[in-house]
Structure formats: structure tokens, C-alpha cells
Amino acid sequence: MGLPVEQILIQTINGLVNGMILALVASGLTLIFGIMDVVNFAHGELVMLGAFVGATTIGMTGNFWLALMVATLAIAAFGAILQVTTLRPLLGRDPLTTILATFGISLVLQKYALWQWGPSARKLQEPITAQFSLFYLKYPWYRIATAVLAAAIIGALFLFLKYGKFGIWIRAAMQDRVMAQAMGIPVPLVHTVVFAIGAGMAAASGVLFGPLAGVTQNIGADFTLRAFIVVVVGGMGNLGGSILAAIFISLLEAYASLIVSPAQAVIVSFVALILTLLFRPTGLFVPTPK
């Protein structure tokens, strides 16, 4: 049996598309960790809520792009409320307590989604139905558009962090919280805004993911776990590293599912995480710390 070149190429494209969606989730997670030492266990639930809000909006208006905007803004606002009510009181305590608090939140959100939207899977209507032929199958343009859009959002975040006044505040608070406060930066506000940005990005990826597979209230845990793996493999709090790691992990899983079933392919990324933690705990895609 020869090397199935077509399959490998198809899986490469699949891996890249999934990787960009995952990168969108993980960059929010890593930003939140980098700036306030919060390990957000509820991040996947924000993806899930975003997808459901998007589904409801599409149901009412029929417009996918509007749904993307509404879901992003709504979940960002919700994230801000969440941060103020539950995470702000925990500032300065052991980071482990934030795991516990956000774990509690994730339980609540998951069951709330079950209550509000029911147990059946929902598939969002894709806005672009055109397909192009890729070897022996028709590949939807929508998937490509997803990857491009995710890349655009991440690029916008980079530009915002680099040139925006608020972005500079964020980077300052990331480097040294106390000094930033001393220079007059409203650090509590920065924390809230960063959490809102992370939540909004999670919601956006939820809506983008919606048409690819059915959305149920259970997808959150899966996203949380994957995003964690990505964030650790990429180096906690390192934005660029997380994005590379997201693509790396997704490609690994895509290639692995050529050989084993997709359910078992997850183990490959688990092993990648464990190997990273053992041999390079600072992350694969960051320069060696001096």
C-alpha cells in the first residue's frame, strides 16, 4: 500500500482549520492566564454558550454574520460580569482557588445550557455553501473561510496589543502588576476587559465551529481540555506559542485519526502534553529561558 498522499493532504487542511479555531479559544485562555494568573476552567463553556447564542440569533434573524457579532458581544459582556462577581474577589489568592471557582462556574453554565437549549444537538446554518473539489471529495469553502476569519481575529488582537493604548496597558499589567498600578493604570479594569476579550474570542470560535459539527452542552469540557493542552504545550501565558501549539496539536490529531479512530486520536495530544511537561515544561514554542 502506497502512502495515501491525498488523505494526508486533506488531513493537513482539516488540521489547519481546526487548529485556527482552537488557536482562537486558546489565545483567550492564555491571555487571561498571563495577565491575572487565572486558570479558567470555564473557558470551554464560554465557547459552548457562544455557539448557542449564535444559534438562537440565526434562528431569529437568519443572518450568520450578525449572529457572530451578537454572540461575541453578548458573551464578552457576560464574561465581564463573571470576572467582576467571582474572580475579582479571588485576586491575590492561590491560583488554585481560581481553578476551583471557575470549575464551579463551568458546572453551572453547562447545566444552564441544557436547561435553556435542551439536550439535542444543533447545527448552525453555514453562511457559505459553495464547495470546491479536492481530490475525490467536495471541500466546503466555509472551512477555509473559518480559518481565515480566525486568523484575522487573532491578527487584530495582536495589533491591538501592540499599538492600542489599552493594549499597551494590558501588556504593562502582564509584565508587572504592581508597577503598572503605580504608573496609574487601572489594573482591575484591565483584568475585566481582558477577561471580556477572552470570553468574546471563545464565543466567536463557538459560532465559527457551529456549522462544522453539532453543538451540544457537552462540547465545553472538550474545548477546555484541548485549550489547556495547547496553552501548556505553547508555554503558559505566551500568545504566539499558543497559536503555533494549537496548529501543531490539531495537525497531530488529524494525522493520528488516519490510523486510529478520532476518539483515540485524542490520546496523541495527551501524550504530546505529557512529553512537553516532562522535557520542556516552559513550552515548546518559546525561546529557552536564560
Binding site: 471557582a101 464551579g104 436547561w115 481540555l225 489547556f228 483515540q264 502534553l273 511537561l277
Partner: protein
């Protein structure tokens, strides 16, 4: 000091006696319920060794619990007639095997990295058990008959609700005494030193890694024991119990009851299960919404848990 020790043991005996007569006086539903609280309490106690005493939050206790369950299931299904003691031995061996594996890799990491690694390990075992349908029964799990309570050559009686409860109570009480002794031993003191200040414990000359490995193994063994008891009580093993939500519940037990007290997590388990029982009458399957809110509020406002809160109130 002497008086408080006497008070402690009196309290212990009273609670033990109350738990022993519980199946004789309670209605049928609550008998089972109390047994279940004891089993989950044992699991919570085992994880307290890591969370409360060593300062390592484990999100992977479901792996130990589940492997104990499947180990017992294997012994009960393969060997005829089913033997209780063989189930115990095999279940503990399975849990210990996993514990060695997890301990070797995870103890090199600290804080959240430890939490995430243990979580990932338990998911690895979950995926293996879930997809290896030929051996583990996959999603459906395994069902088997309950073994008889026997001492070879002496007697053999089938388990009734009462004898099962007493058996579980005896195992849990002995485990509690062992764990209490361990936490008060020099070994336990070193674990607490690691929790308080790891670099200092290392500087004094303790081999921190070795202590952590032993702590994870000990914790895993008792978690496996809880899994075996659960398998015997319910006559099945299912992959749901290896899923990380179970580990999350164990952490909830610890936080609700009070970490680092051994008794606290048992109280937390009882509180959680009672809460679930009471709330699911009104909220059906959505009981986790109020429970999650209560839990999050307790993390923020009551970080020492019910027991710590009660103790502070009593001291005032």
C-alpha cells in the same frame, strides 16, 4: 490537650456507633444512601492527602477510583465463584498500577501543572476504557454478581443491605484511622512541610519528589479501595466513573467540607450528596446549577469549608 483528645475519641465512637445502627433504624432508601456517603467519603479522604496535606490539587482521582472498580470487576467476573478478597486484591493492584504511573510523571510538576497533568492522565484512562469495548464493555460497562462476605474456612454469608453497610463502615473506619495515623507521623509532617514551603523542605534535606510519589501512591490506593467498595455495592463498573467530572466532584467534597482535616471531606461528601438529593427533587437533573453556585460562593467566602467555618464559630 488531654481533654480535647478524650473528647475527640468520644466523638469518634459516638459517630461510629450512630453509623453502625443507621441501617437498623433508617428507611430502606436512606440505608443505601448512608453507605454511599461512606464510600464517597473514603474517596474524598484519600484525595485530601494530596489536596489538603501536600498542597497538590489532583483532578485525576477518578482514574484511581475507576481502575479500582474495573480491577474488582475483573476479579469478580473471571474467577468463579466470585471471591470478595480476590476482588479487593486485584482492585487495589489495578489502582496501584495507575498510581505508580501517574506518580512517576505528575509529581515532577507543581500547582496547576500537576492539576492539569492528573486531569489528562485520567482522561487517557477514560478514553482507553471507553474505546476498548471487547474487554471493558465500552460505554455499557460491566455488570457482575456481588460476592459473598466470607472468611475462607470459617463462614460465608451473602451480603444484605445491613452487612454490606457494616462491611463498608469497617473498611472506611479502618482507612480513616490509618490515614489519620499517617498524617500525624513524621512522614505526614514532611508532606505538610512541602505544602507550606517546598523549597525549604528541600533545603532541609528531604527528598521532596520521593515523598510526593509516596503520597500520590497512598492516595491512589485508598481511592482504589473506594472504587472497589462502590463496585461491590452497585454490582457494575462504568466508564462514567473514570470521567474527570468525578474527580471534580471529589475536589468539591474537599472544598465544601474543609481541606486538610480528613473528617472534613467526608462531611463535604455527605453535604454534597444530601444537597443533590434534596435539590434534585425540585430541579431534577439541573441540581448542579444551585450546587455549582453554592460551591463557587464557598470557594470565595468560605475557603476553609464547613468544618473550618464551624470551628472558627465555635472558638469565638
Amino acid at each position: 490537650m488531654r481533654r480535647s483528645a478524650a473528647l475527640y475519641w468520644t466523638g469518634f465512637c459516638v459517630i461510629l456507633a450512630l453509623l453502625a445502627v443507621a441501617p437498623l433504624v433508617l428507611p430502606a432508601f436512606w440505608r443505601r444512601f448512608v453507605t454511599e456517603i461512606l464510600i464517597w467519603g473514603l474517596l474524598a479522604m484519600s484525595s485530601d492527602i494530596l489536596i489538603g496535606y501536600t498542597g497538590m490539587v489532583s483532578f485525576g482521582h477518578s482514574a484511581f477510583f475507576g481502575l479500582g472498580m474495573y480491577g474488582a470487576a475483573a476479579a469478580l467476573m473471571v474467577v468463579k465463584p466470585a471471591n470478595l478478597w480476590l476482588a479487593l486484591v486485584l482492585g487495589l493492584a489495578a489502582a496501584a498500577g495507575v498510581a505508580v504511573f501517574v506518580a512517576f510523571f505528575a509529581t515532577r510538576l507543581r500547582d496547576i501543572y500537576f492539576a492539569i497533568t492528573t486531569l489528562v492522565f485520567s482522561q487517557i484512562f477514560y478514553v482507553i476504557i471507553f474505546t476498548w469495548t471487547d474487554v471493558t464493555g465500552g460505554e455499557n460497562g460491566l455488570t457482575f454478581a456481588r460476592p459473598a462476605l466470607s472468611i475462607p474456612g470459617l463462614f460465608s454469608v451473602p451480603f444484605t443491605t445491613e452487612t454490606l453497610h457494616w462491611f463498608v463502615l469497617a473498611v472506611v473506619a479502618v482507612s480513616f484511622l490509618i490515614l489519620r495515623r499517617v498524617t500525624q507521623s513524621p512522614f505526614g509532617m514532611v508532606l505538610q512541610a512541602i505544602r507550606e514551603n517546598e523549597p525549604r523542605a528541600r533545603a532541609i534535606g528531604y527528598s521532596v519528589e520521593r515523598y510526593k510519589i509516596v503520597a500520590v501512591m497512598l492516595s491512589g490506593l485508598f481511592a482504589g479501595l473506594a472504587g472497589i467498595l462502590y463496585a461491590i455495592q452497585n454490582k457494575f463498573a462504568a466508564p462514567d466513573f473514570v470521567f474527570f467530572l468525578v474527580s471534580g466532584e471529589v475536589v468539591i467534597f474537599n472544598v465544601m467540607g474543609g481541606m486538610g482535616t480528613l473528617v472534613g471531606p467526608v462531611a463535604g461528601a455527605a453535604f454534597f450528596l444530601l444537597l443533590r438529593e434534596g435539590l434534585s427533587r425540585y430541579f431534577t437533573e439541573y441540581y448542579l446549577i444551585p450546587v455549582g453556585i453554592i460551591f463557587t460562593a464557598m470557594v470565595i467566602f468560605m475557603p476553609q469549608g464547613l468544618l473550618g467555618f464551624a470551628r472558627r464559630r465555635l472558638n469565638q
